[in-house]
Amino acid sequence: MEPLLEVKDLYVSFHTQAGVVKAVRGVNFTVNKGETLAIVGESGSGKSVTSKAIMQLLPDHSASYDSGKILFDGQNILEISDKKMESIRGSDIAMVFQDPMTALNPTMTIGKQVAESVMRHEKISKKAALQRAIEILDLVGIPEPATRVNQYPHQFSGGMRQRVVIAIAIACNPRLLIADEPTTALDVTIQAQILDLLKEIQRKTGTSIILITHDLGVVANMADKVAVMYAGKIVEEGTVEEVFEQSEHPYTWGLLKSIPNLEANEQLYSIPGTPPDLLSPPVGDAFAARNEFAMAIDYEVQPPMFAVSKTHTAATWLLHEKAPDLSTVIQSTERELERTKRRDRKDFAKTDSIIQVHKLKKHFHMSGNSYLKAVDGVSFDIRKGETLGLVGESGCGKSTTGRTIMRLYEPTGGEVYFNGKPIHGDLKKQDENRIRQKMQMIFQDPYASLDPRKKVIDSVAEGIDIHKLAASVKDRRDIVQNLLEIVGLNKGFMNRYPHEFSGGQRQRIGIARALAVNPDVIIADEPISALDVSIQAQVVNLLKDLQHEQDLTYLFIAHDISMVKYISDRIGVMYLGNLVELAPTDELSKEPLHPYTQALLSAVPTPNPKIERGRERIILTGDLPNPMNPPTGCRFRTRCPYAMEKCKETPIWKEAKPNHFVACHLIE
């Protein structure tokens, strides 16, 4: 196989006021033609920075390439002219950026944004380029692409935007596609579509793909090779099977161990400690401080890459010939490793509800007389101390439901009660204030939800300031420090600004902010989507512990069904503004009643390459119908494999079994 891209000993650092952040510290990898390399690793380990370095898109004024080479087709990208680089971008190397919400120009039509790239590299007419754009959009599964090309990004849901970003990247059949968390924002069904699409493209055009993701299931599904990054270095590289089954680096072990087991009922494992601050990376192995098998040398000398096989390398002194045989060591630490038994799921059926939502509606006024019915008559209650999971396709109204409960949107109709008292409509100032402290929200888009001009300490402490929870400046700082530690961030991050963080780090800042006011209820909108599994586990454990200690109640909105299943006591499934099924977690996973729920569950990828390769799943055809003009009757009927004549009537919300609600004509 011919190498297409070789990254050799790449060092990248950021010059910030506090000092030099050494984000990438000697990264080496090779991507061959037609191959998919997955990069996984700690959030903040330098995955995005590395990929931006390949694109030469790091901010000029603060980033510096300290040493190393990036050879693309034998040509060192770091040395070629701007002009040359421009012609490589888009046509030879294309990239899908991590954050789809901000990656599209808000004032340019989708069609133009896609066509632009085609026009730049293929020198074809505007009209032809637009035609191509429509084809590509169709390819990535945007419904009615011919009309959609004239719309603007804000008229697209998050998932659709993600697909547009992918469309832009693949528009010119690049030889290398770098996809930075391409499916993080997507629900599992669409994720499955996208991954299939990428594979399809690869098969047709022989594109090489660098896939950055924290979802090991996706890795198992897609990748040929995996590189594991930690603290700016690649610590292990090998074929999927090698990494998943014979991993050598303790960090990889930790990662794999952190994956929630769909069936298991125990506390999630997470790697203890916090990742190192890259301002002053440790001298030896960066992972040493969190590595229970660390040896003295790990604190002194950086380990080299040891070859395990032709394709498998790992950077850990454990592979040195003088290293002790781990089997003995593992024995001695067995006790520590042993996973604590998870608490049993409580039966919340009899508990009082803390939040009651009754026929909640939120319609957004569009132009003229048209309304977008984002939430259209949703009723459920959340009981004290429970976790209610909310899942559903992107754009189905999960966030809107959460936000309307939070009083961030004025409901169009329906009622919301908190502890039995209505909290919809006008409230007295003090009541409002009280609710604001009692109910908190973790926002879906971590970057956008942080004021770019505020330091982390001030963002996190905002609630503390508002509700005057800190006695002194020092007190305030201590609280923030403590919170950062809780969410697995370095205390030193306190004085940094949001743009200086990686996606996952930002998400944790958002969590810390919500926790700061000691709320009773937290509406967590995708709180862990951008985190690597270990930190996901850490956060989930944290949420669980807090719930246990403080009797917290969660509304947990997420795409990642396995995580939702793990954390939730009950799960609600939404489709196009309606709740279609609501049941206790175990019941739902064992016996999903609604066809949509069934499809959703089947699409969840598992972090096992062997299973993933051969798996069949129910792939829903078509896209989410236009929420401005939803189908009559059962809204799912346009995509339902079992749709029948009767489905043209609106199904009623009924309790099919005790505590198991569903709205489907199939269930009588």
């Binding site: 010059h15 006021q17 506090a18 000092g19 080496n28 400690g273 916090t274 301002l279 002053s280 040493a288 401080a289 969190r290 229970e292 098998f293 660390a294 040896m295 003295a296 040398i297 604190y299 000398v301 080299p304 890459m305 040891f306 395990v308 096989s309 390398t313 950077a315 592979l319 040195h320 010939e321 003088k322 290293a323 002790p324 936000r403 961030l408 204030n433 604001r436 908190q440 929200m441 926002f443 888009d445 939800s449 942080l450 004021d451 770019p452 001009r453 505020k454 330091k455 905002e462 508002i466 509700h467 700082r477 370095n490 205390k491 306190m494 004085n495 600004y497 743009h499 958002g510 902010r513």
Partner: protein, 319 residues
């Protein structure tokens, strides 16, 4: 396990790298990374630190301080006072006795210019304060509350702009004595309108952003939103706009003085001196040149400083 080193990543096994106990498992270290990398400094102090790294801004700050000092002390640096006339010495080019020459009354320009700078600096300060105290607040509230309130507030601005200023100003002369105070009142009436509209447009843009929602969710009041989020995020624009309000206020003052509302002879501001100098620019160019130089100097420094400030307050701009 086959522990073979790849040639590519060869370790130099030099003497001393490995010790006896190098490969003894010692386990994780809990406290090893608990260092706070960046000392906590207040946002103001940090911005100040960043500002001082900007050469242009520092030089500007020094020059502004110098000009302010001259405005305070300049008039006392020679024996003339600003109103002292000497008809035999009218229209003297700058010389050893009159450093900036004399005007048609034989008054010492040096003294008059620094006296005038003092007044113009006051006007600049006033304009900035108005911009900030009324314009920014008005604009933010209008955009933030939105709906009917916004509608009414915008109509009020339209009415204020629509009524001819000059009429109001002449009426003011009738009502009160001309002077600094009257100028102040005249400027209060409409001096802040542009700022209000600009801030409003910006706040509209920011209003629906996620981080504002996040702050709302935490229970932030409108006042807090304005103070903590809208103003900091609009600051670039505010500063840029102020760089226009200031000179235009200085010249508005000159115009007001010219039609008798403002300063009364023999007091003069820089704007008035420039107006006067303009009349004689063909033959006594120095009368126009020096006050213009002072004002241009001041404005360039203000701008460099403001740019520095803007960058210093924008965390993304920093090096």
């Amino acid at each position: 396990m086959t522990n073979t080193n790849l040639e590519k990543y060869e370790v130099k096994e030099t003497e001393g790298v490995f010790r006896e106990d190098s490969f003894k498992v010692v386990g994780a270290k809990k406290e090893s990374q608990d260092t706070i990398a960046r000392p906590h400094v207040g946002i103001l102090k940090e911005s100040w630190l960043r500002l001082t790294k900007n050469k242009g801004a520092v030089v500007s700050l020094v020059i502004i301080s110098l000009l302010v000092l001259l405005a305070l002390l300049g008039p006392y640096m020679n024996e003339y006072t600003y109103e002292q006339t000497d008809y035999d010495k009218a229209f003297q080019e700058p010389n050893g006795e009159h450093w900036f020459g004399t005007d048609k009354f034989g008054r010492d320009q040096w003294t008059r210019i620094w006296e005038g700078t003092r007044i113009s600096l006051y006007i600049a300060l006033l304009a900035s304060v108005l911009d900030l105290a009324i314009g920014v607040i008005y604009g933010s509230i209008s955009a933030l509350v939105g709906g009917k309130v916004d509608n009414i507030m915008q109509r009020i601005i339209e009415v204020l702009v629509g009524i001819p200023n000059l009429i109001l100003i002449i009426l003011l002369i009738m009502l009160m004595k001309p002077g600094i105070f009257t100028i102040t009142v005249a400027m209060v009436i409409t001096g802040w309108v542009n700022m209000a509209r600009l801030v409003r447009s910006q706040v509209f843009k920011l209003k629906s952003q996620e981080f504002i929602l996040a702050s709302r969710a935490l229970g932030a009041s409108n006042g807090r939103l304005i103070k903590e989020h809208f103003i900091p995020n609009t600051l670039g624009l505010i500063i840029v706009n102020m760089m226009f309000t200031i000179p235009s206020a200085i010249f508005t003052e000159a115009f007001l003085s010219f039609i008798g509302l403002g300063l009364q002879e023999p007091l003069a501001s820089l704007g008035v001196l420039i107006n006067d100098g303009f009349e004689g620019m063909r033959n006594n160019f120095y009368l126009l040149l020096y006050p213009t130089l002072v004002i241009v100097g001041l404005m360039i420094c203000f701008n460099l400083l403001a740019d520095g400030l803007r960058d210093a307050l924008d965390p993304k701009m920093r090096k």
